[in-house]
Assembly symmetry: C2
DNA sequence: TCTGGATGTAATTTTTATTATAACAGCATA
DNA sequence: TATGCTGTTATAATAAAAATTACATCCAGA
Protein backbone atom coordinates (compact mmCIF):
# COMPACT_ATOMS: atom_id res chain seq x y z
CA UNK A 1 0.00 0.00 0.00
CA UNK A 2 0.96 3.61 0.25
CA UNK A 3 2.54 4.75 3.46
CA UNK A 4 -0.01 6.41 5.67
CA UNK A 5 0.61 10.11 6.16
CA UNK A 6 -2.63 10.68 8.02
CA UNK A 7 -0.90 11.38 11.31
CA UNK A 8 1.35 13.98 9.70
CA UNK A 9 -1.57 15.54 7.87
CA UNK A 10 -3.71 15.66 10.99
CA UNK A 11 -0.94 17.43 12.90
CA UNK A 12 -0.62 19.76 9.94
CA UNK A 13 -4.31 20.61 10.17
CA UNK A 14 -4.20 21.20 13.91
CA UNK A 15 -1.07 23.33 13.69
CA UNK A 16 -2.53 25.30 10.83
CA UNK A 17 -5.62 26.07 12.91
CA UNK A 18 -3.51 27.01 15.90
CA UNK A 19 -1.41 29.35 13.76
CA UNK A 20 -4.40 31.11 12.23
CA UNK A 21 -6.85 31.67 15.06
CA UNK A 22 -10.20 33.02 13.96
CA UNK A 23 -9.24 33.02 10.31
CA UNK A 24 -12.32 31.34 8.80
CA UNK A 25 -10.30 28.49 7.36
CA UNK A 26 -12.28 26.41 4.92
CA UNK A 27 -11.38 22.81 4.27
CA UNK A 28 -10.39 24.01 0.83
CA UNK A 29 -7.92 26.53 2.21
CA UNK A 30 -6.33 23.94 4.48
CA UNK A 31 -6.25 21.44 1.64
CA UNK A 32 -4.15 23.88 -0.36
CA UNK A 33 -1.51 23.92 2.32
CA UNK A 34 -1.46 20.14 2.61
CA UNK A 35 -1.75 19.93 -1.16
CA UNK A 36 -4.64 17.54 -1.18
CA UNK A 37 -8.39 17.74 -1.61
CA UNK A 38 -10.93 19.24 0.79
CA UNK A 39 -12.83 16.00 1.39
CA UNK A 40 -9.72 14.32 2.76
CA UNK A 41 -9.18 17.25 5.13
CA UNK A 42 -12.77 17.02 6.27
CA UNK A 43 -12.29 13.31 6.93
CA UNK A 44 -9.31 14.03 9.12
CA UNK A 45 -11.19 16.80 10.91
CA UNK A 46 -14.09 14.45 11.46
CA UNK A 47 -11.82 11.98 13.23
CA UNK A 48 -10.25 14.75 15.28
CA UNK A 49 -13.67 16.05 16.25
CA UNK A 50 -14.84 12.61 17.35
CA UNK A 51 -11.75 12.38 19.55
CA UNK A 52 -12.57 15.72 21.14
CA UNK A 53 -9.53 17.52 19.79
CA UNK A 54 -11.36 19.89 17.50
CA UNK A 55 -14.65 21.78 17.51
CA UNK A 56 -16.52 22.89 14.43
CA UNK A 57 -19.85 24.20 13.23
CA UNK A 58 -21.52 22.29 10.44
CA UNK A 59 -21.79 24.31 7.30
CA UNK A 60 -19.34 27.01 8.35
CA UNK A 61 -15.60 27.47 8.42
CA UNK A 62 -15.30 27.78 12.18
CA UNK A 63 -13.08 24.90 13.10
CA UNK A 64 -10.90 25.46 16.14
CA UNK A 65 -8.88 23.43 18.60
CA UNK A 66 -10.98 22.07 21.42
CA UNK A 67 -7.99 22.26 23.77
CA UNK A 68 -4.83 24.21 24.24
CA UNK A 69 -1.98 23.04 21.97
CA UNK A 70 -0.10 22.13 25.13
CA UNK A 71 -2.89 19.73 26.04
CA UNK A 72 -2.86 17.81 22.77
CA UNK A 73 -0.21 15.11 22.54
CA UNK A 74 1.03 13.35 19.44
CA UNK A 75 -0.43 10.20 20.92
CA UNK A 76 -3.86 11.86 21.17
CA UNK A 77 -3.69 12.60 17.47
CA UNK A 78 -2.41 9.12 16.65
CA UNK A 79 -5.28 7.53 18.56
CA UNK A 80 -7.79 9.85 16.95
CA UNK A 81 -6.55 9.10 13.46
CA UNK A 82 -5.16 5.58 13.53
CA UNK A 83 -7.13 4.11 16.40
CA UNK A 84 -5.26 1.16 17.82
CA UNK A 85 -3.34 0.39 14.64
CA UNK A 86 0.03 -1.05 15.66
CA UNK A 87 3.32 0.18 14.25
CA UNK A 88 4.63 -3.37 13.75
CA UNK A 89 2.50 -6.02 12.16
CA UNK A 90 2.32 -9.70 12.95
CA UNK A 91 1.86 -12.22 10.21
CA UNK A 92 -1.53 -13.71 10.90
CA UNK A 93 -1.45 -15.93 7.82
CA UNK A 94 1.02 -18.53 9.04
CA UNK A 95 0.20 -22.20 8.72
CA UNK A 96 -2.24 -23.02 11.53
CA UNK A 97 -1.11 -26.63 11.37
CA UNK A 98 2.40 -25.60 12.25
CA UNK A 99 2.65 -25.19 15.99
CA UNK A 100 6.01 -23.53 15.67
CA UNK A 101 4.75 -20.87 13.31
CA UNK A 102 1.64 -20.04 15.26
CA UNK A 103 3.41 -19.88 18.57
CA UNK A 104 6.31 -17.82 17.31
CA UNK A 105 3.83 -15.23 16.14
CA UNK A 106 2.13 -15.44 19.52
CA UNK A 107 5.41 -14.86 21.30
CA UNK A 108 6.14 -11.94 19.00
CA UNK A 109 2.95 -10.24 20.05
CA UNK A 110 4.25 -9.73 23.57
CA UNK A 111 7.40 -8.08 22.31
CA UNK A 112 5.64 -5.98 19.68
CA UNK A 113 3.43 -4.70 22.48
CA UNK A 114 6.53 -3.57 24.34
CA UNK A 115 7.79 -1.72 21.29
CA UNK A 116 4.38 -0.17 20.78
CA UNK A 117 4.32 0.99 24.36
CA UNK A 118 7.78 2.54 24.07
CA UNK A 119 6.72 4.45 20.96
CA UNK A 120 3.45 5.56 22.51
CA UNK A 121 5.15 6.69 25.71
CA UNK A 122 7.36 8.92 23.65
CA UNK A 123 4.43 10.20 21.59
CA UNK A 124 2.50 11.05 24.70
CA UNK A 125 5.33 13.33 25.81
CA UNK A 126 5.23 15.39 22.60
CA UNK A 127 2.58 18.09 22.37
CA UNK A 128 1.21 20.17 19.55
CA UNK A 129 2.71 23.13 21.38
CA UNK A 130 6.18 21.55 21.13
CA UNK A 131 5.72 21.07 17.42
CA UNK A 132 4.54 24.64 16.94
CA UNK A 133 7.49 25.93 18.95
CA UNK A 134 9.92 23.94 16.84
CA UNK A 135 8.15 25.17 13.74
CA UNK A 136 8.65 28.77 14.81
CA UNK A 137 12.33 28.16 15.48
CA UNK A 138 12.98 26.39 12.22
CA UNK A 139 10.96 28.92 10.28
CA UNK A 140 13.29 31.53 11.75
CA UNK A 141 10.45 33.39 13.44
CA UNK A 142 9.02 34.51 10.11
CA UNK A 143 5.99 32.67 11.28
CA UNK A 144 3.60 34.92 9.40
CA UNK A 145 5.03 34.24 6.02
CA UNK A 146 1.66 33.39 4.61
CA UNK A 147 0.26 30.25 3.08
CA UNK B 1 -0.58 -1.00 0.54
CA UNK B 2 -0.54 -4.15 2.48
CA UNK B 3 0.93 -4.06 5.92
CA UNK B 4 4.48 -5.35 5.90
CA UNK B 5 4.91 -8.59 7.79
CA UNK B 6 8.51 -9.03 6.68
CA UNK B 7 9.90 -8.44 10.15
CA UNK B 8 7.58 -11.05 11.64
CA UNK B 9 8.35 -13.48 8.86
CA UNK B 10 12.10 -12.97 9.18
CA UNK B 11 11.93 -13.66 12.91
CA UNK B 12 9.86 -16.71 12.08
CA UNK B 13 12.57 -17.96 9.75
CA UNK B 14 15.36 -17.38 12.27
CA UNK B 15 13.42 -19.00 15.10
CA UNK B 16 12.54 -21.93 12.88
CA UNK B 17 16.21 -22.47 12.09
CA UNK B 18 17.17 -22.16 15.75
CA UNK B 19 14.53 -24.70 16.72
CA UNK B 20 15.61 -27.24 14.12
CA UNK B 21 19.40 -27.26 14.19
CA UNK B 22 20.96 -29.35 11.43
CA UNK B 23 17.63 -30.34 9.95
CA UNK B 24 18.30 -29.62 6.27
CA UNK B 25 15.49 -27.10 6.04
CA UNK B 26 14.71 -26.15 2.47
CA UNK B 27 13.13 -22.82 1.65
CA UNK B 28 10.10 -24.86 0.69
CA UNK B 29 9.85 -26.47 4.10
CA UNK B 30 10.14 -23.10 5.85
CA UNK B 31 7.64 -21.59 3.44
CA UNK B 32 5.11 -24.19 4.54
CA UNK B 33 5.38 -23.06 8.12
CA UNK B 34 5.03 -19.40 7.19
CA UNK B 35 2.40 -20.38 4.63
CA UNK B 36 3.95 -18.54 1.78
CA UNK B 37 6.14 -19.38 -1.22
CA UNK B 38 9.80 -20.45 -1.20
CA UNK B 39 11.06 -17.47 -3.21
CA UNK B 40 9.77 -15.04 -0.60
CA UNK B 41 11.55 -17.00 2.11
CA UNK B 42 14.76 -16.95 0.09
CA UNK B 43 14.44 -13.19 -0.31
CA UNK B 44 14.16 -12.79 3.43
CA UNK B 45 17.10 -15.12 3.96
CA UNK B 46 19.11 -13.17 1.44
CA UNK B 47 18.59 -9.97 3.44
CA UNK B 48 19.45 -11.76 6.66
CA UNK B 49 22.58 -13.18 5.11
CA UNK B 50 23.71 -9.77 3.86
CA UNK B 51 23.27 -8.45 7.39
CA UNK B 52 25.44 -11.24 8.73
CA UNK B 53 22.69 -12.89 10.74
CA UNK B 54 22.54 -16.07 8.72
CA UNK B 55 24.95 -18.33 6.86
CA UNK B 56 24.04 -20.56 3.97
CA UNK B 57 25.48 -22.63 1.16
CA UNK B 58 24.27 -21.94 -2.32
CA UNK B 59 22.43 -24.87 -3.78
CA UNK B 60 21.97 -26.72 -0.52
CA UNK B 61 19.64 -26.56 2.44
CA UNK B 62 22.30 -25.72 5.00
CA UNK B 63 21.11 -22.38 6.34
CA UNK B 64 22.00 -21.68 9.95
CA UNK B 65 22.21 -18.75 12.30
CA UNK B 66 25.50 -16.90 12.05
CA UNK B 67 25.28 -15.92 15.72
CA UNK B 68 23.83 -17.18 18.95
CA UNK B 69 20.10 -16.36 19.31
CA UNK B 70 21.06 -14.26 22.32
CA UNK B 71 23.25 -12.12 20.07
CA UNK B 72 20.55 -11.30 17.55
CA UNK B 73 18.25 -8.45 18.55
CA UNK B 74 14.90 -7.57 17.06
CA UNK B 75 16.53 -4.35 15.91
CA UNK B 76 19.20 -6.32 14.04
CA UNK B 77 16.46 -8.12 12.17
CA UNK B 78 14.52 -4.91 11.55
CA UNK B 79 17.59 -3.24 10.08
CA UNK B 80 18.39 -6.28 7.97
CA UNK B 81 14.90 -6.43 6.56
CA UNK B 82 13.54 -2.91 6.55
CA UNK B 83 16.75 -0.94 6.39
CA UNK B 84 16.14 2.55 7.71
CA UNK B 85 12.42 2.59 6.97
CA UNK B 86 10.75 4.73 9.63
CA UNK B 87 7.71 3.63 11.58
CA UNK B 88 5.96 6.99 11.15
CA UNK B 89 5.82 8.73 7.80
CA UNK B 90 5.99 12.39 7.03
CA UNK B 91 3.89 13.86 4.27
CA UNK B 92 6.42 15.00 1.69
CA UNK B 93 3.75 16.16 -0.75
CA UNK B 94 2.66 19.34 1.02
CA UNK B 95 2.47 22.58 -0.89
CA UNK B 96 6.04 23.86 -1.25
CA UNK B 97 4.67 27.39 -1.60
CA UNK B 98 3.16 27.15 1.85
CA UNK B 99 5.81 27.94 4.40
CA UNK B 100 3.61 26.72 7.19
CA UNK B 101 3.04 23.36 5.62
CA UNK B 102 6.65 22.72 4.75
CA UNK B 103 7.97 23.81 8.11
CA UNK B 104 5.41 21.90 10.13
CA UNK B 105 6.55 18.75 8.37
CA UNK B 106 10.14 19.73 9.07
CA UNK B 107 9.38 20.21 12.74
CA UNK B 108 7.61 16.86 12.80
CA UNK B 109 10.74 15.14 11.60
CA UNK B 110 12.56 15.90 14.83
CA UNK B 111 9.78 14.40 16.90
CA UNK B 112 9.31 11.38 14.65
CA UNK B 113 13.02 10.72 15.10
CA UNK B 114 12.50 10.66 18.84
CA UNK B 115 9.68 8.15 18.51
CA UNK B 116 11.78 6.06 16.17
CA UNK B 117 14.63 6.05 18.64
CA UNK B 118 12.34 5.00 21.49
CA UNK B 119 11.01 2.11 19.44
CA UNK B 120 14.48 1.07 18.30
CA UNK B 121 15.88 1.21 21.80
CA UNK B 122 13.21 -1.21 22.89
CA UNK B 123 13.82 -3.45 19.88
CA UNK B 124 17.51 -3.59 20.60
CA UNK B 125 16.76 -4.99 24.05
CA UNK B 126 14.77 -7.93 22.69
CA UNK B 127 16.71 -10.92 21.41
CA UNK B 128 15.81 -13.92 19.35
CA UNK B 129 16.59 -15.94 22.45
CA UNK B 130 13.91 -14.04 24.39
CA UNK B 131 11.39 -14.77 21.67
CA UNK B 132 12.31 -18.45 21.60
CA UNK B 133 12.04 -18.64 25.38
CA UNK B 134 8.61 -17.06 25.30
CA UNK B 135 7.65 -19.40 22.50
CA UNK B 136 8.60 -22.41 24.61
CA UNK B 137 6.60 -21.12 27.55
CA UNK B 138 3.51 -20.35 25.51
CA UNK B 139 3.76 -23.60 23.61
CA UNK B 140 3.64 -25.28 27.01
CA UNK B 141 7.02 -26.96 26.56
CA UNK B 142 5.67 -29.23 23.82
CA UNK B 143 8.24 -27.55 21.71
CA UNK B 144 8.77 -30.53 19.51
CA UNK B 145 5.25 -30.77 18.31
CA UNK B 146 6.27 -30.88 14.71
CA UNK B 147 5.55 -28.65 11.77
C1' DT C 1 32.43 -35.90 -14.33
C1' DC C 2 27.90 -35.22 -14.98
C1' DT C 3 23.27 -34.95 -13.00
C1' DG C 4 19.69 -33.15 -9.91
C1' DG C 5 17.80 -30.78 -6.25
C1' DA C 6 18.20 -26.41 -4.11
C1' DT C 7 19.74 -21.77 -3.88
C1' DG C 8 20.09 -16.72 -5.21
C1' DT C 9 18.09 -13.22 -7.71
C1' DA C 10 15.45 -10.65 -11.01
C1' DA C 11 11.09 -9.70 -13.26
C1' DT C 12 6.13 -9.75 -13.30
C1' DT C 13 1.50 -10.15 -11.39
C1' DT C 14 -1.75 -9.88 -7.77
C1' DT C 15 -3.37 -8.06 -3.58
C1' DT C 16 -4.70 -4.50 -0.39
C1' DA C 17 -4.32 -0.18 2.40
C1' DT C 18 -4.29 4.50 1.42
C1' DT C 19 -5.19 8.70 -0.90
C1' DA C 20 -7.83 11.14 -4.47
C1' DT C 21 -12.05 12.37 -6.24
C1' DA C 22 -16.99 12.90 -6.90
C1' DA C 23 -21.51 13.55 -5.18
C1' DC C 24 -24.90 15.25 -2.26
C1' DA C 25 -27.94 16.04 1.84
C1' DG C 26 -28.14 19.27 5.57
C1' DC C 27 -26.96 23.15 8.27
C1' DA C 28 -26.53 27.98 9.71
C1' DT C 29 -25.83 32.39 8.54
C1' DA C 30 -26.76 36.50 5.89
C1' DT D 1 -34.88 31.45 1.81
C1' DA D 2 -30.72 31.35 -0.94
C1' DT D 3 -25.91 30.34 -0.42
C1' DG D 4 -21.51 28.48 0.84
C1' DC D 5 -19.58 25.14 3.41
C1' DT D 6 -19.69 21.06 6.14
C1' DG D 7 -20.18 16.03 7.12
C1' DT D 8 -20.44 11.74 5.02
C1' DT D 9 -20.57 8.06 1.76
C1' DA D 10 -19.17 5.79 -2.32
C1' DT D 11 -15.99 4.90 -5.99
C1' DA D 12 -11.55 5.27 -8.51
C1' DA D 13 -6.66 5.72 -8.68
C1' DT D 14 -2.15 4.99 -6.54
C1' DA D 15 1.49 2.65 -4.42
C1' DA D 16 3.78 -0.76 -1.47
C1' DA D 17 3.82 -5.42 -0.29
C1' DA D 18 3.46 -10.32 -1.07
C1' DA D 19 2.81 -13.95 -4.46
C1' DT D 20 4.43 -16.01 -8.35
C1' DT D 21 7.33 -17.19 -12.28
C1' DA D 22 11.64 -18.00 -14.26
C1' DC D 23 16.19 -19.24 -14.59
C1' DA D 24 21.26 -19.18 -14.03
C1' DT D 25 24.28 -21.18 -10.75
C1' DC D 26 26.13 -24.13 -7.45
C1' DC D 27 27.84 -28.39 -5.40
C1' DA D 28 27.15 -33.05 -3.35
C1' DG D 29 26.70 -37.49 -4.63
C1' DA D 30 26.25 -41.17 -7.97
Amino acid sequence: MKYSTKLSDAVHVLAFLALHPGAALTSERIAESVQTNPAYIRQLMSALRKAGLLASVKGHPRAALAREPGGISLLDVYRAIEGDKPILHQDTHTNPNCGVGVNIQLALRDYYDEVQRAAEDRMSAITLQDIIDTYRQEAGMDSDTEV
